[in-house]
């Protein structure tokens, strides 16, 4: 069923058009997910497969988005790469080394900002350093710079409850960047925001990505958001979570609000949409 859903691009990573990184001569991928299966036991006692034999290689500095219906294991995938949970089968590698515990080279942004309500914006940004046990002083300037980068200058001492949802999510992005991780994992970070704020923050994220040059894995259920941001879109299906499509988004950068009116953009959205719906129908 996977092959039928992906007429243009094969689900097999080895024949993927955009830099597969599987061949021996290619540089080592930054993150590689190798045949990962993750099962959960539900409260009723039945076993559910959240991810089934997923293989994926992510190159350094790539902006990868993962789209799919809810329950397709996107979040599970992110938690696996973040080292929060371990695979039932298979292996996740970071820079070639097996990832068996959380790594400070990975930063996470969640759907909700989950800031500490008693801490100021600045203290929330510094929070990971406190958890890592790193000294604060050397990174103070960096924290202020990040806050300025997301347009929150002047709000350093504000409490989260004094900020809007969009501003809070900006703080949580700064928090993920403060310890300078190589990979930024984002799990539907803008899903709780209204459409306009969502678009605005998307472009802001691209600007930050351009400036800081990170590898970004961005999970979303919005196909147009996925295409707009990404170098590469991974399409997943639900139950069990599987990759059915892997598309290189060749649209020129920088992307602007006009990008979404281009024919290329529409074509990518159409291709991905048909894959998602074909999958949904076959279930």
């Amino acid at each position: 069923m996977a092959s039928a859903a992906a007429p243009v691009i094969s689900a097999d990573p080895s024949t993927r058009p955009a830099g597969g990184g599987i061949s021996a001569t290619a540089p080592q991928p930054l993150v590689s997910i190798e045949g990962v299966t993750r099962r959960f036991v539900t409260r009723a006692g039945t076993e559910v497969s959240a991810l089934d034999n997923v293989t994926l290689a992510i190159e350094r500095d790539q902006f990868v988005t993962v789209v799919g219906p809810s329950g397709c294991g996107k979040t599970t995938l992110m938690k696996l790469v973040g080292g929060i949970i371990q695979p039932t089968r298979g292996l996740v590698r970071l820079n070639g080394a097996p990832l068996t515990r959380p790594s400070r080279r990975i930063g996470m942004v969640f759907q909700r900002p989950i800031l500490l309500p008693w801490c100021s914006v600045l203290d929330n940004v510094l929070f990971p350093l406190r958890m890592l046990g790193w000294p604060i002083a050397p990174r103070m300037a960096q924290a202020r710079k990040l806050i300025e980068l997301v347009g929150l200058r002047g709000f350093e001492n504000a409490l989260p409850m004094e900020l809007s949802g969009g501003m809070q999510q900006r703080v949580s992005i700064c928090r993920a960047l403060i310890y300078d991780p190589e990979v930024l994992l984002m799990d539907e970070p803008f899903a709780a925001l209204d459409a306009m704020m969502r678009e605005e923050l998307g472009f802001e994220l691209l600007r930050i990505w351009n400036e800081q040059r990170k590898t970004v894995v961005f999970i979303t259920h919005s196909i147009s958001e996925a295409v707009m941001l990404a170098d590469r879109v991974i399409v997943m299906t639900a139950r069990p979570g599987r990759i059915v499509m892997d598309v290189a988004i060749t649209l020129p950068r920088p992307r602007t609000p006009d990008t979404e009116f281009s024919d290329g953009f529409k074509q990518f959205v159409k291709t991905i949409k048909s894959a998602v719906y074909a999958e949904a129908k076959s279930h």
Partner: protein, 262 residues
């Protein structure tokens, strides 16, 4: 801001007016129907006879106050660590909870003579009795607060490979503070009850003792006066805790304050 202030003042004035009206009605009824003072004394009588024992009142008041504060402090010092143990160790949870429930379901008045036997007569046993009455909500609420931390926030700390102690001091404990303080507000009023119970059972001073002896001597007016003092003590200590809460948890707005702000 200004209209709000005016409204608040108006509300206070209305409250005060209601109290005065009730007192006046009470006084009038007592006089008109000539209700005997040992049965239901008029406010003027209460003030008069309570004022007559003003020499010993401060001592009794201080005794009860120190029992309340001591019992509350002991409940906090015992309750919070127990809550932490219960949250972090499923084994201890299984061991401790049945004990706590048993202790909670035993009436403390019934427990008081036993404590007197063990600890001896005096302030210390009073403090222990007040503490046993006050500490249950502290344990329950603190445990609930420590466990209510946002799951994703904990995942974030996991992704940073943070140690248990760091997560406790920097995340769990501050997160639980509003829960802890709301239990403190319950506990401090329970400590007042516990102190009076202790003074009823075995003591030679305190407001509870005063009520007991006045009742024996049919001095109903003094009983009323002491009751007023007791409730003042309870209210004052409640607001003291609420004041500290506002200082320590400014990010947390109790629902009452929220409705007032709108």
């Amino acid at each position: 801001m200004k209209p709000l202030l005016r409204r608040t003042l108006a509300e206070y004035a209305r409250g005060a007016l209601a109290v005065v009206a009730i007192l006046v009605a009470w006084e009038v009824l007592c006089r008109v129907f000539a209700i005997p003072k040992w049965l239901f004394p008029a406010p003027s009588r209460i003030v008069e006879e309570t004022w007559a024992i003003r020499g010993v009142l401060p001592m009794h008041f201080a005794a009860t106050l120190s029992t309340v504060l001591g019992g509350f402090a002991l409940a906090v010092v015992a309750g919070i660590p127990i809550a932490v143990l219960v949250v972090y160790s499923p084994f201890l949870r299984r061991v401790i909870f049945p004990f706590l429930l048993t202790l909670q379901s035993v009436p403390k008045v019934a427990l008081a003579p036993l404590l007197l036997l063990w600890v001896g007569y005096g302030q210390f046993s009073n403090i222990i009795i007040a503490a046993t009455v006050a500490f249950f909500p502290i344990v329950i609420n603190t445990a609930t607060g420590l466990e209510s931390v946002d799951k994703e926030l904990l995942e974030l700390t996991t992704s940073l490979d943070a140690g248990t102690a760091r997560v406790f001091w920097r995340v769990r404990l501050p997160w639980a503070l509003p829960y802890i303080f709301s239990s403190f507000k319950v506990a401090i009023t329970l400590a007042v009850i516990g102190a009076v119970v202790a003074e009823f059972v075995g003591s030679d001073k305190g407001l509870g003792y005063l009520i007991l002896t006045s009742s024996g001597a049919m001095k109903t007016s003094v009983m009323f006066g002491v009751l007023v003092l007791l409730s003042l003590l309870g209210i004052a200590s409640f607001y003291a805790v609420a004041w500290i809460e506002r200082r320590l948890c400014p990010w947390y707005m109790p629902t009452g304050a929220e409705t007032q702000a709108t």
